[in-house]
């Protein structure tokens, strides 16, 4: 399968990865090769087969709805790129 330039541009945008034209073209060639490998899968008849999402046949555990974690805001914010007054700073999004 061969991907188009616009396919790759769309994926890069969805994945939030800035890429220039040279990088898009390199990715297009490599991804096309990988999708050729993946294409082998398409020919398999899987009618009636239940998808397997997990290795063990177990259901999600439930727990009581109570507070289990202590407040560690200061510790966690100490490794953030930019914080102020206990808030994470990002470029302005609302005019």
């Amino acid at each position: 399968m061969s991907l188009s330039t616009s396919d790759v541009q769309k994926v890069a945008r969805l994945a939030r990865l800035a890429m220039n034209d040279t990088e898009i073209e390199a990715a297009r060639i490599q991804l096309s090769g990988i999708f050729e490998l993946i294409a082998e899968m398409q020919a398999v008849d899987t009618t009636g087969i239940e998808p397997m999402s997990h290795a063990q046949d177990v259901s999600q555990r439930l727990r009581e709805d109570r507070v289990t974690e202590p407040d560690q805001r200061e510790l966690f914010q100490s490794i953030a790129p930019q914080v102020e007054s206990g808030l994470y700073l990002v470029p302005q999004v609302i005019e």
């Binding site: 939030r16 800035a18 991804l31 090769g33 899987t46 063990q56 966690f76 470029p91």
Partner: protein, 484 residues
């Protein structure tokens, strides 16, 4: 001392032949001498390690030592360790100091073990050669011109070069077993859900599993005893009774039924690797095992299925790296979207971006059924192959990797060629089964060959028994690279 088993180290510490501080210093000195060549460690912090060793010595003196107390281990840099730089091999986490401990790290701490440092790895565990690390290639101690395998290549290299007593690794598609094979050490990926993933930086959550990498199967068993156990902080951690994984090590092998999947011995397997595996099987027959040919008909689909499912999960897991709460943020940007896009573009390496893009594509509107759902259905077929096979045998054996360690840069330009080096290991992750690799000789280029042993769910003790009995009767696992 550097060739001693964990059991010997533990008795030497108990008998005061050596202290944990002396043992830790011995390894720190070796790291200082040899790490510039092998680049197996990304972070070493002698102060923390020696403080832990001192505490261990006090614990030993107080008569409160466990089997791993005072022994220095290397931890793959995928495990968060409080106060330690935890990079996951990425520029994205280049300055990240973990604010908490992964479950695996706390288990080693509780056991009184010493953390010697964090080992190099493929970026976000995506790679089979350790060439995708932001912190440089790791070298194979058997030949520094060759790769150690990946993604736990730093751990494998450190164990083989005697730069730690043993190490931890993680395995999503072969990342413990393949580097163990390429570096001539023993490593086991346990049944999915056995070791908590809490604090282990996520790649593909339905496949990721941590395990030990050591110089013998016996050492692996002792480490598993510490690493496993229920942890409520991992939603897929299994609630099971605690096992002693060393309980069956000394059982004789007579009557063990070994299944040899014909698909593992077909086109693509190097002749020298094939011969070493055949010799290992002959040894097992001598030890009383019987051999039956089996079939895993969907083997060839494991790589394509994996390269849909693992990137899909990765693209979702790695969306958390946004330059806001922690990790790398680009120095210049115009608005929020631009900040996300530039931080991620600059923070992630090529292979990681490639896999995020594959994952984003297969999960995107209009392609979900054709790729993701289809892959999940074939995943069931692959798991069913194993269930059927285990009706005829107790363990499955074959090669871990199709060839011995290749040269650095050899597979650099072609991701597909690199992906195929995990052809025998990936299906085991898809099924969630335990698998291990033990050394069984050397190839034509004098590089180690690994024998893969695959067990049924929760059958680690039997696999370790099979591996240990082989190691009692052969000495491949005791070989040491020249000059070390």
């Amino acid at each position: 001392m550097i060739n001693a088993t964990l059991k010997h180290l533990s008795s030497a510490l108990a008998a005061k032949h050596i202290s944990s501080v002396e043992l830790t210093q011995l390894y720190l000195d070796r790291i200082a001498t040899h790490n510039p060549v092998f680049n197996a460690y990304t972070t070493v912090d002698a102060k923390i390690s020696l403080a832990q060793a001192q505490a261990a010595d006090a614990r030993i003196a107080a008569g409160l030592a466990g089997p791993l107390t005072g022994i220095p281990f290397a931890q793959k840099d995928i495990f968060c360790a409080k106060g330690w730089r935890t990079t996951c091999g990425s520029k994205m986490l280049g300055d990240f100091i973990a604010p908490y401990d992964a479950h695996v790290i706390s288990q080693f701490d509780r056991a009184g073990a010493v953390n010697l440092g964090k080992t190099n790895m493929d970026e976000f565990a995506m790679g089979s050669s350790n060439e995708t690390s932001y912190f440089g290639d790791v070298r194979n101690p058997w030949d520094p011109q060759r790769v150690p395998g990946g993604s736990s290549g730093g751990s494998a290299s450190a164990v083989a070069a005697r730069l730690c007593a043993a190490a931890t690794g993680t395995d999503t598609g072969g990342s413990i077993r393949q580097p163990a094979a390429l570096c001539g050490i023993s490593g086991i990926k346990p049944t999915y859900g056995t070791v908590s993933r809490y604090g282990m930086i996520a790649f593909a959550s339905s496949l990721d599993q941590a395990g030990p990498m050591a110089r013998s199967a016996e050492d692996c068993a002792l480490m598993l005893n510490v690493m496993t156990g229920f942890d409520e902080r991992d939603s897929t951690s299994l609630q099971r009774d605690q096992e002693d994984y060393s309980r069956d090590l000394n059982r004789p092998l007579s009557g063990l039924r070994i299944g040899l999947p014909r698909e593992f011995f077909a086109e693509g397997l190097s002749a020298d690797v094939g011969s070493r595996i055949a010799e290992a099987i002959a040894e097992y027959r001598k030890l009383g095992a019987t051999v039956v040919e089996i079939s895993l008909p969907n083997t060839r689909l494991a790589v394509p299925v994996y390269y849909v499912l693992a990137p899909a999960e990765a693209s979702s897991n790695l969306s958390r790296f946004d330059g806001v709460r922690y990790g790398y943020r680009a120095p210049e940007y115009t608005d929020l979207a631009d900040m996300y896009e530039k931080s991620r573009a600059q923070g992630f390496g090529e292979e990681v971006k490639r896999r995020i893009m594959i994952g984003t594509y297969v999960l995107s509107h209009g392609y979900y059924d054709a790729y993701y759902l289809q892959a999940q259905k074939i995943r069931r077929l692959i798991a069913q192959d194993f269930t059927d096979a285990f009706k005829q045998c107790d363990v499955i054996m074959g090669p871990t990797a199709p060839s011995t360690a290749f040269k650095l840069g050899e597979k650099g330009d072609d991701p597909v060629q690199m992906y195929l080096s995990d052809i025998y290991t990936i299906a085991v992750n898809l099924a969630g089964l335990p698998g291990m690799s033990i050394p069984c000789g050397f190839g034509d280029n004098a590089m180690p060959v690994g024998l893969q042993i695959i067990g049924n769910y929760f059958d680690e003790a039997r696999m370790l028994n099979a591996a240990h009995q082989y190691q009692l009767n052969t000495d491949w696992h005791t070989r040491c690279p020249q000059g070390l």
